[in-house]
């Protein structure tokens, strides 16, 4: 009876009480509910993300993946619930949290260079009334170098390809030198070389002990890229290590009756068996 299972609270993630949350988890979400115009988009989210994981957030369109990230970052109001970053409210932990928004969220005709955009990731460090100094530009240039486009630093941002624009956003988050990163579909519409470069970067961040949450669409690459997944469809269907959680049953519950996506899920599972 898959329908019933979908509508009930999933058994894979029993609800946590407030004191069940581990106090030092990079991200712990307690009982989060978010609504737009009184219509709930996220229900009763209870999550603890262990340190040093590369986490994929998976779910169908409209499942609330971006909203989950934005609620953690106080970019959308919470109807209820509590989000803690390393045991503290996000407001006090801004400097350890990096954010890579969706590429379409900004106007790329804006008169700034790639270097300017990366420097914006340092504005909090620089502080009010102070100007951007050489040392900040050096940090920004180093971040651009890490994503392989330091030679494009002076380009106006509309003169970059989609993949290069995505790298600029990644560099901006890197410049912040955070320990917890949120990335909203960094793989959307990028070229293969950029995709490889981003994966290398993500593994690199993981090897430094940093925690990264990535909204991801391509089910076929989930097992390759992530060692921890959150299956989301308004509620958390399942969350945990990829090999335990990324199962046919859970995917079926996440994607419900959406046939095309089921086919995709089937494809993804055949990949697991082969891998």
């Amino acid at each position: 009876m898959p329908d019933l299972a979908y509508h009930n609270k999933p058994s894979a993630t029993p609800p946590l009480r407030e004191d069940d949350h581990s106090p030092r988890a990079p991200l712990s979400i307690h009982d989060l509910t978010v609504a737009y115009h009184r219509k709930p988009v996220l229900w009763d989210i209870d999550l603890d993300i262990p340190e040093g994981k590369l986490v994929g957030i998976i779910g169908p369109n409209g499942a609330g993946k971006s909203t989950l990230i934005k609620a953690c970052l106080d970019l959308v109001p919470k109807a209820s619930g509590l989000v803690q970053v390393y045991g503290q409210p996000y407001k006090r932990q801004r400097s350890v949290v990096g954010y890579v928004p969706q590429r379409e969220s900004v106007d790329w005709d804006f008169p700034v260079s790639a270097l300017d955009v990366v420097t914006m990731g340092l504005y909090r460090d620089i502080g009010w009334f102070k100007v951007v100094r050489r040392k900040h530009k050096d940090i920004a240039r180093a971040a651009l170098d890490r994503v392989g486009i330091s030679h494009l630093a002076e380009r106006q941002i509309s003169q970059l390809s989609g993949g290069q624009q995505q790298r600029v956003f990644l560099a901006r988050a890197l410049a912040q030198d955070a320990s917890l990163y949120f990335m909203d579909e960094p793989f959307a519409a990028v070229d293969a070389a950029t995709e490889r470069a981003i994966v290398t970067l993500l593994k690199d961040l993981q090897s430094q002990g940093k925690t990264t949450l990535v909204v991801h669409h391509d089910l076929a690459t989930v097992t390759q890229y992530f060692d921890y997944v959150i299956l989301l469809n308004m509620r958390v269907v399942a969350a945990g290590p990829t090999e335990e959680v990324f199962t046919a049953e859970n995917l079926h519950r996440t994607y419900g009756g959406k046939l095309t996506l089921l086919a995709e899920a089937g494809h993804a599972l055949s990949q697991i068996k082969r891998g």
Binding site: P101, F110, P111, V112, G121, V131, G148
Partner: protein, 315 residues
């Protein structure tokens, strides 16, 4: 052409208006809110009327406060309607400013029995007459210089806007480009939005009282849009838009003196001519701008750069 000292003052006042408008104007254009100046300059009418009805005088300071408050409220109401209802920003701006403008007209008709508060004068202003309203005078060498009140007011507003733009450059930039990132950086993008709206309200009110609102609306948007065609850097866009606006003021005044006699008219309105000149300068830039102009796009169409050019990183 008979150029007198008053003509110099008219150009200076026009140029100060242009500079005061161009700085917040650049951010308005980049945020896609170009018509906010237009909306605010109309919507402040009830503020003027209420300030008059409450205080019973036409003292410019109370009128200014009344208008500036309603100007900021225009931005607040627009934001509320956009957030709460399923109404896009352009439509909610239209709803707010037409309603407030109409309310202002009603109030002025009520007040008009007692006082000369002419809506036409409020809208179109008269920069030519500003030189008669002298604020103070001083000796410069052997000549006596009369400083018009308009020059003092617009000079102060231009200076205020310059200070805000310089001190909050980073914050204005990041909130215009990526409000979400601004928020995660601990910069309140909403607050910066209202700072900009307050700037626009103060500038619009101060300027239209002395020079009329047609020139304010033109100077807020057109020089900024022209400068955007000419540069890829925000700080240069601000500088260039101020220069273009100031030049338009000078050229506009000269044209207003020279052109009408040539075609058999007596004279024309300087404010109107300055506004028309900003439009002409925009057309020139739109045609001949080095990278984004029509001509250079035609010429460079053949060699479109490969978007995937440049070395890719090695994994």
């Amino acid at each position: 052409m008979n150029w007198i000292v008053d003509d110099t003052w008219i150009v200076i006042i026009g140029a100060l208006t242009a500079i005061a408008c161009a700085l917040p104007g650049c951010f308005l254009v980049l945020r896609g809110m170009s018509m906010m100046g237009d909306a605010i300059s109309h919507a402040v009418l009830p503020g003027l009327a209420i300030a008059f009805l409450v205080t019973g005088t036409r003292a410019s300071f109370t009128m200014f406060i009344g208008a500036a408050v309603v100007g900021v409220l225009t931005a607040v109401f627009t934001q509320w309607i956009t957030n709460l209802g399923k109404v896009d920003r352009g439509a909610s701006m239209g709803i707010v400013f037409t309603t407030l403008f109409a309310l202002g007209l009603l109030l002025i008709v009520q007040a008009a029995d007692y006082v000369d508060l002419d809506p036409g004068c409020v809208l179109y202003g008269n920069i030519e007459w500003t030189t008669f309203d002298v604020s103070f005078e001083f000796n410069w060498g052997s000549t006596l210089v009369f400083v018009p009140r308009a020059a003092i007011i617009l000079g102060s507003v231009a200076l205020l806007n310059l200070c805000i733009t310089v001190f909050f450059f980073k914050e204005l930039k990041i909130s215009a480009f990526d409000p979400e990132l601004a928020t995660t950086q601990g910069i309140n993008a909403q607050l910066m939005h209202y700072l900009l709206m307050t700037q626009v309200a103060i500038t619009t009110v101060a300027a239209f009282e002395v020079v009329g609102s047609i020139i304010v609306i033109a100077m807020l948007v057109t020089p900024a849009a022209t400068a955007h065609l000419l540069t890829d850097r925000l700080h240069w866009m601000l500088v260039i838009s101020a220069i273009i606006g100031a030049s338009a003021a000078g050229i506009g005044h000269v044209l207003a003196i020279v052109v009408p006699p040539l075609i058999g008219f007596e004279s024309t309105t300087t404010s109107g001519m300055m506004a028309v000149t900003t439009g002409l300068l925009f057309i020139v830039a739109w045609l001949f701008a080095p990278n984004y102009g029509w001509l250079s796009r035609i010429l460079s169409r053949k060699d479109v750069e490969n978007p995937f050019s440049g070395p890719l990183p090695t994994d």
